[in-house]
Symmetry: C2
Subunit: 432 residues, 2 copies
């Protein structure tokens, strides 16, 4: 048998996501990541996550396991009005409580539905059933209330699975319930778990790791995480709840990451490449237009996903066919005939053409072979050219070769093009 995880379970949390669609229905559980973040800010560490289907017996098995290893168990899903939702019955069954219709649960739900011009139907009335002795957790954005109760020394917080509802309830009543309970027990509140995130582009994961070697001195309880994706390598520093770390030490480690990865670091925290680039464009008072071939509109889409981007994005030309490269961004027919549509020359011409047509400060272009078809003897799948054209007349081009499938190649191409733009904007920041 394994040893007990820790003598003090009170700062160890487990999440349980309930829903058959999470087992084999193509949906991943993202609630548990938000819960880990919210609890971490209060010093509670999610160490275990479980996923189980809408099955009373299986839910009971998972709940019984969770309370043995975690002092805080946050359950999401299965509180809805449909027949397969059975979380409240499963919790009542395993904890030996009766389900009782609670006035405050019913009133909150009725008020919400009235606001939407509806009255609760029979199925929805089931949602007001709460295990006896439980505390009702109101739902400020939806109809199904949640609840909290203590069982075998652990606190169960049970919330709906809809992310928006779960998150609002966790913040507004789940966390206050937990911290209040802890304060009343006379135990001091643990230190928040601190997590710093750095986003790099252009350096392989193994090299990121090599650059960070020895950063964290032996015995210091800070975890270093690396996460590679098509958007680059994410680096994280995470403190645990088990031993505290001084803020000064964390800041010096953060500074260490910045210095060691300076050349490739494009964002920190929740920032994305398109947010960083948008901020630079706005600050420098510049406007941009895109000319995309293999990325098919992805760069335009990413830039315009940022609220307020209409201040600097003027337009984008998705010039997929050769004729459209000529018609939309004035690439000479001879240039395509002579060098091929996937060439440095055409990338430059596309960037110049869209900049001039749009009358913007910067034109940015991508042309490449995303595959699986389209490769030639000299031009393999993954070969991509990008171009940047500035009002000054300056034109930069770059050749890159990516591995992966069609989707990975277009994602990487979009990231590389935005990074080219970012570096150019930073380079001229001194001159502004």
């Amino acid at each position: 048998m394994p040893r007990q995880v820790s003598r003090d379970r009170s700062c160890i949390a487990e999440t349980i996501a309930i829903g058959s669609e999470l087992l084999n229905g193509g949906r991943t559980d993202s609630n548990s990541l938000r819960i880990a973040e919210i609890l971490g800010a209060h010093g509670i560490e999610v160490r275990f996550k479980s996923i189980v289907g809408d099955d009373r017996a299986d839910i009971a098995v998972v709940l019984a396991t969770a309370v043995r290893r975690a002092g805080i168990v946050v359950v999401t899903g299965g509180l809805g009005p449909t027949a397969d939702d059975c979380t409240r019955e499963a919790v009542a069954g395993i904890t030996g409580k009766r389900l009782v219709r609670r006035k405050e649960a019913l009133e909150g739900m009725t008020a919400r539905l009235t606001q939407w011009g509806r009255t609760p139907n029979k199925a929805q009335l089931r949602q007001a059933l709460i295990p006896s002795g439980g505390t009702v957790l109101p739902n400020p954005v939806g109809s199904a209330p949640g609840f909290a109760l203590t069982w075998k020394g652990a606190v169960l917080v049970v919330l709906p699975g809809v992310p928006r509802e779960m998150e609002a309830m966790m913040r507004e009543s789940g966390v206050p319930f937990l911290t209040d309970r802890r304060a009343r027990s006379g135990r001091h509140l643990p230190e928040p778990i601190r997590r710093s995130v750095f986003h790099t582009w252009g350096l392989p994961e193994a090299d990121v790791e090599a650059n960070l070697k020895g950063l964290i001195p032996r015995g210091i309880p800070v975890g270093l995480g690396l996460l590679a994706s098509s958007m680059g390598v994410l680096v994280s520093l995470t403190t645990g709840s088990r031993r505290s770390v001084s803020p000064g030490l964390i800041e010096s480690l953060e500074q260490g990451v910045r210095v060691r990865l300076h050349e490739w670091l494009f964002a920190e925290g929740t920032d994305t490449m398109e947010v960083v680039v948008g901020r630079l464009l706005l600050k420098q008072g510049l406007t941009i237009a895109l000319a995309e071939s293999c990325t098919g509109g992805l760069i335009s889409h990413r830039l315009t996903q940022v609220p307020g981007s209409s201040a600097y994005v003027d337009r984008g030309a998705v010039c997929y066919s050769n004729q459209s490269k000529t018609a939309m961004v004035d690439v000479p027919v001879e240039l395509i005939a002579g060098h091929g549509a996937v060439s440095s020359e055409v990338a430059a011409s596309m960037a110049n053409g869209i900049r001039r047509r749009a009358g913007v400060s910067i034109g940015l272009s991508v042309t490449g072979i995303a595959g699986p078809g389209g490769a030639t003897d000299t031009k393999p799948v993954g070969l991509v050219y990008m171009g940047l054209s500035a009002e000054s007349g300056e034109t930069i081009t770059k050749e890159l070769r990516f591995h992966g499938d069609r989707s990975m190649i277009t994602q990487r191409s979009s990231q590389a093009a935005l990074d080219l733009l970012r570096r150019w904007l930073l380079g001229r920041a001194g001159d502004v």
Copy 2:
């Protein structure tokens, strides 16, 4: 204590995903969905999923729990060469086996690295350590081998966390190991779990459910799943491994879904809206060009993500600014001044303009207010107009109002525009 899940654990599987980044690092576990699909095809049902960090003690706790409730435990992650990877040590520790360097593991790894022009370094050599008595599972696409072993009557299959490697190993050696073991035990192989998926657009989840009420007769062991997202409502029919269902009955239930949701059903299985639309365009020999405002290139991106889409996608104009609507797709200045950029008239003009400019069969346009800014007294966030212009001169426009944040509104707008196109293509299919 909960009752035992089932007397026969041999067809119940649990997945364990290992990696601290899955606990609080912003990465969701998608491996387990692929594993559930692969095992389901062999009649093995994933009923429990666990996620745990790179922590030997915590991994041991989760493994001990898993073998009590599942006969097949598939572990992914933590087999890499970096210091935090400790899955093999944790498995060896809890099962009481020694780690031994295995010749076949070392040879496979060395061969792979040689192919990449590298030799194994000290950290990689650790990857050839396998718990004694375990079966080495070769890695056909990466360097770290996996392994399988029996412990407490359950089979543990341990694989790397890289999805491509995990999937190849699961198919090529994990599943054969499991089925071979079962065949040798003299037990018959269970029936495959059958899962049928239907994609609908345009009907709220509650109405989808109402339309399907009573579809599955009482007592028939087929699960009906509904999953709402910005891309519509997904409906699934899933058989379990516990009781078999005749293929004829499943087909009649599938047919029932098709009939009851006919009006809103746009795809089945793994097909997406862009795949379905692309297939119709190709079949009818039509070409298309896009004019996008609030969707910012998303429709172009989605259509061009389909391999072979260059056969029907000519170009896309992301006309974000008002000037670009005039310059790129010939929307008259007076039309924008008179009706506003977000109007039925401008949507029609954009669709006509891009169709004429590109010389294609169909022009498709979207203009709307994605928010959070940009709303006026008469035009709220979420108001979207789309237009479709055909060579015949026919022009269709549609007004829609979406709820949600910027990202949800653009996603929904792209789906609605593609569905408008799909319906139009189906409508003319009879005439072709």
